[in-house]
Symmetry: C2
């Protein structure tokens, strides 16, 4: 049991039809003018954007728009947003979308509040001293950014994908209506489920310290995602399953599943960031490729945890810890495959050369500031090996 801080101030409005309250919610914060940040066509297509705008107009809330945030969101779009907010002296940022949109909103919030070059906070040159307030209407259950302290941005020039984690950027509120996710393509839904699982796995596969209560919550969450991920792959319009997965996305990354641990492992994420930064892979699909290779590489260094995972989450029986642990990893891969997710880079049509891999590993190693990882401390060679085994 390690000491820990826990802070999840985001007000959650969960359930069907809650978007209708957006005007009242903003008014409760005395907000009169906002920047709306969103992606491309989908929220226009499902009529969500026009509905939100109608509600804002009704409550006389002025708005500007930042449209066109892409997956693996770009620094250039963040700079665009900062300019709009500064020019129009806006008070609040409303993200309508999933992780990419929310992370962009968070980055804009850092940039406006602190001034200077916003990339400094991602390249770790400076630490932010605060952020503009942001709120969320969630349309993709995956990143958990709607309650997390995390924001990940890609520098299009250098291909670096970097994160900035502080409590300042946790959203003030999140409207979570599971019905908004029904129209997501299957591949996005399943990638999201993988991302959700990984946020808990990164906190679970550590070298001891987690409270039993934390493990109970983490295991229950993973069981829920495995169960309802499979339901959604079969029946995407199952609203109950959408709800389970959406709430899991938030709880998986708000800190709850890591209370008392050593800070978590997070090496699958670090390794994946290089991959999706370089090749623009869907984050969850990058994780379904990296995690198995990482798990097979490190499980002997953290056998008790991999055994516990296989037994409690996947129901694998047996007394030979190594055998059970291996079966747990294999079963996880099988589930990813059954969800239509890749478990090798070639399934993503990525064929990096050895030099490409060394580049990614070096970039990862540098961004970690040296050897890193809880289940197993990974050095540069380990990172190269994990990428290579994932080809």
């Amino acid at each position: 049991m390690n000491n820990f801080n826990y802070y999840t101030p985001t007000k959650v409005f969960f359930g069907e039809g809650r978007v209708n309250e957006i005007g009242d919610i903003l008014k409760s914060y005395n907000i009169n003018n906002i920047l709306i940040v969103y992606g491309g066509g989908s929220i226009v297509k499902i009529g969500l954007l026009s509905k939100v705008i109608e509600l804002l107009n009704k409550d006389n809330i002025k708005y500007y728009e930042l449209r066109g945030v892409e997956p693996n969101p770009l620094l250039s779009k963040v700079r665009e947003g900062i300019e709009i907010v500064n020019k129009n002296k806006l008070e609040f940022i409303l993200a309508i979308g999933g992780g990419s949109v929310i992370d962009t909103a968070k980055a804009i919030g850092y940039g406006v509040f602190n001034g200077g070059d916003v990339w400094d906070f991602y390249s770790k040159k400076r630490k932010p001293n605060g952020s503009m307030p942001i709120g969320v209407i969630l349309t993709i259950a995956a990143a958990g950014s709607e309650m997390s302290d995390s924001s990940v941005i890609t520098n299009g020039d250098t291909k670096e994908k970097r994160g900035c984690n502080t409590n300042y950027c946790r959203p003030r509120f999140a409207v979570m209506d599971p019905t908004l996710t029904v129209t997501l393509p299957d591949y996005q839904t399943m990638s999201g489920c993988c991302d959700i699982l990984m946020h808990t796995m990164e906190r679970y596969f550590t070298r001891g310290g987690n409270l039993d209560l934390t493990d109970e919550i983490a295991e229950g969450l993973m069981r829920t995602v495995f169960k309802y991920g499979t339901v959604l792959h079969e029946n995407p319009s199952d609203i109950k399953a959408r709800g389970e997965i959406m709430w899991a996305s938030s709880l998986s990354h708000n800190g709850l599943t890591g209370c008392g641990n050593d800070g978590g492992d997070f090496m699958s994420h670090k390794l994946e960031h290089e991959l999706s930064g370089k090749y623009n892979v869907t984050h969850g699909a990058g994780l379904s490729v990296i995690w198995p290779s990482w798990a097979e590489y490190v499980y002997m260094n953290n056998l008790d945890r991999f055994y516990k995972y296989a037994k409690n989450v996947l129901g694998i029986e047996g007394t030979d810890k190594m055998d059970v642990a291996k079966k747990g990893i294999r079963k996880t891969k099988e589930i990813f495959t059954s969800w239509g997710l890749p478990i090798k880079m070639k399934e993503l049509n990525i064929n990096p050369t050895h030099e490409d891999i060394v580049d990614m590993a070096k970039s990862c190693f540098d961004s970690c500031g040296g050897p890193k990882g809880s289940s197993r401390l990974l050095d540069l060679d380990d990172m190269i090996n994990i990428y290579t085994n994932a080809l």
Copy 2:
């Protein structure tokens, strides 16, 4: 799956030695003068009060003291606190203690912020529009008030024990050091464990709607409390067990274990409030008496949930739902007994007459505003029967 709101803004500082940060924490909120609220001798005896005062002095934070809060905290003490805060224009209330102390601090916060008679908010004459900010140094794991929206106060004149629930009173921060609870008498520790269980049970034994994820968390929490409650009854100085129970106390009552439910049952609590209001019983011990009688009275109306509880929380096997459910209730009673807790009123040396019981039932019925309960809607006669069966 019902719609729900979730809001837990309390900043948690968990672990050994975190009390040393109290000055820094208060300074981070720009607090310069406070009211300290506490109970009797124990925090003096273990040196906690003098330590906190030393830290406040070091940081030039002025303080006034409200001492002598008792279990089932009294309205008269709340009024005393309101007077001190108003007279000295204090900015913040720091509760050092458990549920009674925190609930008193919350009530003072309501009283100062809103003016008028503070009992109005508990007798439901008025609704509060806000509260003074409060913070907590937790010394008893039980009530969960350190993160909850709840405050319960007893009117010494009328013997009414009433609650007021709003988000305004959720503490700004809670310092949770499990080592501070080591000196608690066994009876207090075990009553606390029962109270913690009950906060989740009240949200669990409902007529459907809970998310699977919520059930997973609730069941994992209950398993943890049953396990580590028994550990603490054997070995009160087990710090890991203290930590598990302390974190469970907060998560059990902050809303997490009820997400998606129909609002919860809470009739065991309502019935117990009359008992402890009238006879000044330790709340957790009152619950260990009321819950079995309530459960035996209502389980046939909510058999699936009682079956699920027996199976998933207590590991009782079998296919006959009624049989498994009954065994689950019996097993719960056995655990309470093994913890040294009463399961009948006579074990508390309480022998109410039929008239006393009718009085309690009427008072409960009135405070509920009519028939109430999720597992089974209880009318006045049902309440009389449940009290009578608990004699």
